[in-house]
Every structure is written in structure tokens, then in C-alpha cells.
């Protein structure tokens, strides 16, 4: 158990906990805004997991400045690909969150309620 206590495992565990909290929020909350927050948490947890999978023990950020020898860079830096993927995913997550919030705003303007139980139009 003690050998699991290093940086990549701790960040991976934090990411997993955030994913589970987000899923719990998505499934149990009744307030539309809180559902959107649950979705955003789920998203953030996945980002943390992806970055921690790309981490390599004892290496530095993938930026070739004075701390990194350019000729030997592949032995010194961590994996840049998950970081680039997460950069993409953060922007897309932001767009999706804005979209969901605007749906919530429109629904609130129509019915004056944020309670999901008051929207039964598509429920059978």
C-alpha cells in the first residue's frame, strides 16, 4: 500500500474521486444547475486522470527551456500528448457547459423553475 503513495497514484486517485462525485451529482441532484455542475466535475475528473497517466516519475514539463537539454529531451520530459488532448478537452468541456447553462436559462425563463421534477413533458 505504501508504495502506491507517489505523485501519479495520488493524482489518479483524486481524479477518480472527482469522477465519482460528478457521477453521483448527475444521478441524484434535482436542481438543473447542480446537474450541470455534476457534469463539469465529471469532465474535470477525466482531465486529471488523463494528465496523471501521462506523468513519468522524476521528469519535467515538456517545455524545452534552459532546464532541458534539447538533444536528450525524450529522456527528460513527460508525455506531451495527454496534455495536448486535455487542452482540447477543456475547451470543448467549456463549450458544452455554456450550452447546457443556456438551455437551463431558457427553461427557467419559460417555467420559472429549476426543479427537474417539474419538467415532465417527455416523461412517460
Amino acid at each position: 500500500m505504501i508504495e502506491k503513495l507517489n505523485l501519479e497514484n495520488i493524482s489518479l486517485a483524486v481524479g477518480i474521486i472527482v469522477i465519482l462525485i460528478g457521477l453521483w451529482g448527475l444521478l441524484t441532484q434535482k436542481n438543473l444547475i447542480k446537474i450541470v455542475i455534476g457534469f463539469a466535475l465529471f469532465d474535470t475528473g477525466i482531465h486529471i486522470v488523463m494528465v496523471s497517466i501521462g506523468y513519468i516519475k522524476g521528469r519535467t514539463a515538456p517545455i524545452l527551456d534552459s532546464a532541458v537539454d534539447v538533444n536528450n529531451a525524450s529522456q527528460i520530459v513527460v508525455d506531451p500528448i495527454p496534455q495536448a488532448l486535455v487542452l482540447t478537452a477543456i475547451v470543448i468541456g467549456l463549450g458544452i457547459t455554456a450550452l447546457m447553462l443556456s438551455y437551463v436559462l431558457k427553461m427557467y425563463q419559460k417555467r420559472k423553475s429549476l426543479e427537474i421534477n417539474n419538467y415532465k413533458d417527455l416523461k412517460w
Binding site: 489518479l12 477518480i16 465519482l20 525524450s74 463549450g95
Partner: protein, 232 residues
Amino acid sequence: MVKKGFILLILAAMAVIIVGAFAGFTGNTDLGYVANHYASNGASEVGSANLVTAVVVTYRGLDTLGEVTILFLSAAIVGFFLKVENTDNKDRKLKYVSEILNTASQVLVPIIILFGVYVFINGHLSPGGGFQGGAILASGFVLMFIAQPKKEISHKMVTILESISGVSFVLLGVAGIIFASGFLDNTILSLGKFGTLFSAGAIPIIYIFVGLKVGSELTSIALSLKENQNEA
């Protein structure tokens, strides 16, 4: 009650799957094949000190095009969805804005916008880039919207800025096909001296357009949300 049981069951199943994956995770010890190529040849092929920028803008440029398209789509749908029919501001009730927020925003907004521009111009040298810089630009505008809710910003101007930078981004990509080896190839300009501001070929120019596009898209989302603001 049954519903709660199902929710618990789903969460427990998810936890079992993820924790199982976690127990088998041993951590990486070396770069993969593709990452190894990017780390060894990024400096000589792309000339960007920030390898993440090299991957995002050049090696996986098509992904970035798709990402920008998704962001554009979501901004367009938000704008379509939250369109305000009657634009007279008479019956809207807005939140009271305190003196502190108003004064502070006048000092902070230009500094935040300057910082955003700095971040996306230096995207190939330091942590940062078009997306981050664009988000910082938009956060400056959001602060301005909060501090001065009555102030009108032309939606059309934001849209024109966004369209021009989006078209320029695609044109630079196509120029990469014509003058160099592929879409968004940055060697259409000389790579310059590694690690200086004017290096990495076309990456600073591409990132300026990406930054302006992301900034204006996020600003237009915030603008649509602001125009729907009504405290009544």
C-alpha cells in the same frame, strides 16, 4: 427507494471498474513511440520550445481545427438559443453594481486583456497558447460585463472579429498544403532562432488568430448570457 438503489448500484459498479483499473496502474517509465518522436524531433522539425504547442498546432493541427469548430458551433447555438427579441432595456432589472467593483474593473480590464495577448503571443515559448490566452481575454470582457451591465457591446463586431480570425486560421492551414508539406505546416515561414519570440515559423501567427477566435467566441457566449440577464 428503488431508484436510489439503482443509483447506488451504478455508482458501485463504476467504482469497481475504476478502482480495478487503478490497482493495476503502475505508472509510466518511458515515453511511447509517437511521444518519443515528438520529444526528440520537435525542436528541429517545428522549432517550438513548448512541445504541447508543437503537438496541438502542427502535429495534430486537424484536431485543433475540429476543436475550434466545436467551440464555434456551441457559441453559435448559444447565440441562436438566447436571442433577445425585444431589445429595449427599459423593463429589465439589473443587479446593483458596487463602487469598488466598478472602479477596480476599470483598472483591471486593460491589464487582463494585455496579459491574455501576452499569453497567446508567447504560446510557443512558455506554458500558454491561443486557447488559454483567448480564455483570459474573454475573462477580462466578462469582468467588464459584470461591472457595467448597461454598457452595450456590438454583437456584430464580435462576430466579424471571430469570422476574420477563423478564416485566417484556415487560410494559414491551406497555405501549409501549398507551400510546405501539409495542412497547418508551420515551415511556410523560416523557423528562426530556437527559443526566441520570432521563431517556430507560423506558430505565433496561427496562435494569434486562434487566441482572437477563442476570445471572441467566449465573449459572444458571455454577451448572449448577459443580454438575457433580468433580476426581476
